[in-house]
Subunit: 256 residues, 2 copies
């Protein structure tokens, strides 16, 4: 199994506090030593950092921890390999383009028989179940909507439907973005919280570190963080129900 | 205009020496201050680093310069924006997937009327001529070869043909990889050299730095480096002719 971390905001936000907690689980406070990766979205563009090394020792993770990258939307993954060997091409998040948008995907869980699902437009580069599942989802979206749907709602419903279908094949904890929304599905473990004014302090579980968000934010900032397990011990995380989905845009959950 | 740097080898090789020279041109010895990016290939996977900041001051460039990433194939680009604003989505190299292979592309030059060319499978995320040209090339390859061609030669010929067609629309200095080959096309400026035993020392033009490759290599290493302008002043660079292509695999030029 692996751990996931996502962030979705209404203003470009620094994820380093949450990231510092998560990467400890990549070999120090957790066993997820088999690589890690992160996708940062700007308005349209997406840049990724991938490293097959354990995140707790990774030079690239240290850079990401040191260097402020403000982002509207982030997907991060630390890996404990179950399917597929440890190598660059098996390191999440995976990315593809559809309708001129950058899509990024990270997954935790196992999916039985996923590789029997035929693929048309998108093919995996590595050998993980996860990348196959991502290619299949995008294939399905592309077949239903060869052009970008006018209604975001139709797209949201499609993604929830596809996530529910994959959930039936095994464990499908997933973070997905089309550069606008952050789509999240919980098979077993995902928890989220939204920070907004009045902001207060928060302390990490995995590392001795406290931030006073009141000093780091403006009154109109809305920032949602989602992770496999809560990252702080003094905030109210909303633990997702098994088999449920939630979609965020501009830092807020959006109705499906 | 921009500057390009590529490397193709028969064993994973450290590009830091060449990279150190190139990034000086990103704001110090050259005017290419509008972002930079690099794609490193492993056997199948490809990881990229993108930064809209000038490479000579970039924290990420410093990391890439400090941290050894050995790679079989590299494409690097430093940008002087001509078309499209300075932002992440306009930062080369661009990447897409075809046949389960990671393709990466970087370009220098202007292409007249390129955006009139219709696209089918691949759409640009940013607004550069270059990304449109890349999408068009991959579209053409995909239409001709819905499945990966059995003959690499057929693919090589197709790419040379498409490059020649784009060359007619303006300036098309290009580096492209399908994770196996490094395809290079020269409209105006590209020069390359192949380092092989017996290795000797080499000194950068843009920075005071000398490496004795005899100490860094084994007798069987074959490493080709290609760049807009020669990076060293004590080696014999082969300056490409206008309108010509060259393709490398395992460090060696391959016949078309």
């Amino acid at each position: 199994m692996c751990e996931l971390l996502g962030m979705n905001c209404n203003v470009p936000t620094d994820i380093r506090f949450s990231f510092s907690g998560l990467i400890q689980r990549g070999g120090r406070t957790g066993p997820h030593r088999d690589g890690w990766g992160i996708a940062f979205y700007g308005k349209r563009g997406c840049r990724t950092f991938h490293d097959p090394e354990p995140s707790c020792d990774s030079e690239i993770a240290k850079l990401v921890g040191r260097h402020q990258v403000k982002s509207l939307n982030v997907i991060c993954h630390i890996r404990k390999a179950t399917h597929g060997k440890i190598c660059l091409e098996n390191t999440h998040p995976f990315t593809r383009e559809l309708w001129g948008r950058a899509w990024a995907f990270a997954h935790n869980g196992k999916l039985k028989g996923i590789k029997k699902r035929r693929l048309r437009f998108y093919k995996p580069i590595g050998t993980t179940d996860s990348e196959h599942a991502f290619c299949w989802m995008l294939d399905q979206v592309r077949q239903r909507f060869p052009e970008p749907p006018k209604s975001d709602r139709a797209l949201r419903r499609t993604i929830i439907e596809l996530s529910a279908e994959l959930d039936e094949s095994g464990t499908f904890n997933m973070l997905l973005s089309d550069s606008r929304h952050l789509y999240c599905h919980c098979s077993t473990h995902l928890a989220w919280l939204t920070r907004r004014a009045p902001f207060g302090p928060a302390s990490l579980i995995d590392k001795e570190m406290t931030v006073d968000f009141a000093k780091e934010t403006t009154a109109r900032d809305v920032v949602t963080v989602i992770a496999t397990k809560p990252l702080t011990h003094d905030e109210s995380w909303q633990v997702m129900e098994r088999g449920s989905s939630v979609i965020f845009r501009d830092g807020e959950p959006v109705p499906v």
